[in-house]
Amino acid sequence: MALADYDAYLAALRENRGADFQLSAATGRAARLSALWRTFVPAPAVPTTSVALDGSSDIAIGPLPPVDAGQLTLLGARVNPGGIGGVSLIVADILNHSGGLVANVATEQTTNLPTAALTRYTSGVGVMAGLLVTTAIGTTATTFTMSYTNQAGTAGQISQPVAIGSTAVGNAIGTFAPICLADGDTGVRSVESVTLAATTGTPGIMGVVLFKPLAMIALNDFSGAHVVDAVSSGGFVGALAQCEPDACVSLLAFQNVAQFMTGSILLAEA
């Protein structure tokens, strides 16, 4: 069921259904990708075994509006960064996550892997995978690779090495390093193992996250309230994107500096 026209869009906006979030601390890395949900209020549990996520998961923003015959549709956002510095919000459906990996060994790790079977976007096309730091790792820069199953079901694919560790590249809680796929791949169905090239100097804790991006939202006014909608404001690429009714909608960010943030992502059935 699509929105028939502009009036239908306005009617959906007037439902004013926001899925809310609040951060407990200034979160994010300068000019790098990070997962905002690690500082959501209330604090989510640190993942261990890989589990498939849905709208009831503790890293999901909510509540999501109920969906009948239509699709859950992103209409806009109202977000309040607490300080000076722009934010690029990435709204994503987080498909599964795990934990228990450490950053001080250079051997293949399979703790809590393979990742749980996808329950949405099951082909893996367009599904991204990343390594999330949930307890700070060391300050020695290194790289990691993942062994994964691609969108065609081919197991044993090895990602290109991705940098991690060090304060410049990222070692703090919330650091999120998406993998670089092997030649020809367009997505990930599952991750089987992670291998660091060298120790970062501190074990910390890391986990694997599979996610499907839905939209990007610009919060470029550096501070204060941002109101973004799909038609009039601009800065919302992926506007009116539709996602699964049981999606685990959550937030990553690419930021200028770490930020406190509160806000809502506006959704409706369409």
């Binding site: 028939a4 991705v162 601009g234 992926g238 930021q255």
Partner: protein, 282 residues
Amino acid sequence: MAAITDLSDLINRQTGGNSGSPENIFFHKVGRVAGAAATALVAVRSASLWRYDGMPAGGAVPTVAAIPDRTTQGALPFTAPGGSREKWLIGAAIASQVAGVYLLYDRLFHIGGLSGTSTADQTVQGSPASPALTRNTGGAGNMAWYEIYTAIGATGTTLTMTYTNQAGTAAKTSTINIGATGFNAISRAQRIPLAAGDTGIRAIEKVKLTASTATAGNFGITIAQPLAWIPVGAAGVMGWRDYTTGLPGIPAVHPDACLALMFVPSAVTAPEFFGSLAFVEA
């Protein structure tokens, strides 16, 4: 093919009505090539991101003259439109570790394997052109640049390009500097200006260096159709284009387009970035 009639039609198509088949693609890239740290960029001079690792994987160094398309490794993948519909780009966004300006373009043609020491004619497409362009074949708006895949020498010289312009006039020539610091490193992509009065390129017959740069290296020639300039004003801040409300209106994307990125950085850091393109069909 049908036009997007008005805002209501666009909203309807974006939410799946009227065969709009909305598609939002996402990509991320890191400052690495084939698993190793990428060569530092030259501030405020353009760089090709064709080979950068990420999702999708980086492109290969071209060898023979070729027409890349949306299935070529390195292209930002999208779904070809169905029926007789066209694909329309309605938005673009990039959040980047480094401020600068990104160019989204359709990579119409590329060739590698050219030498930085040869002063002989080096064939690009030859005459008649082979392979000839298969997209934007009229040439209007097409641009060309030399793209360095392996560092060439530190001796500056001049590259002369012989091409056919947008009017079909062959044997047009233009020149650009090549070699020397700032113009010889891996990933540098230096646009080649056109002769006075020309507004595009249908084919490039050959290039020729006036003198050796002192190192052969490996450079190539790329013909591109620019689609979107995406300025990123500060590190970490999202640059975006909304073609629903912004100029130049909603651009059509060829069903086989090889979408790729060039970057004019504000600093030398090889960037990490995350981006998105939004499409509908009509």
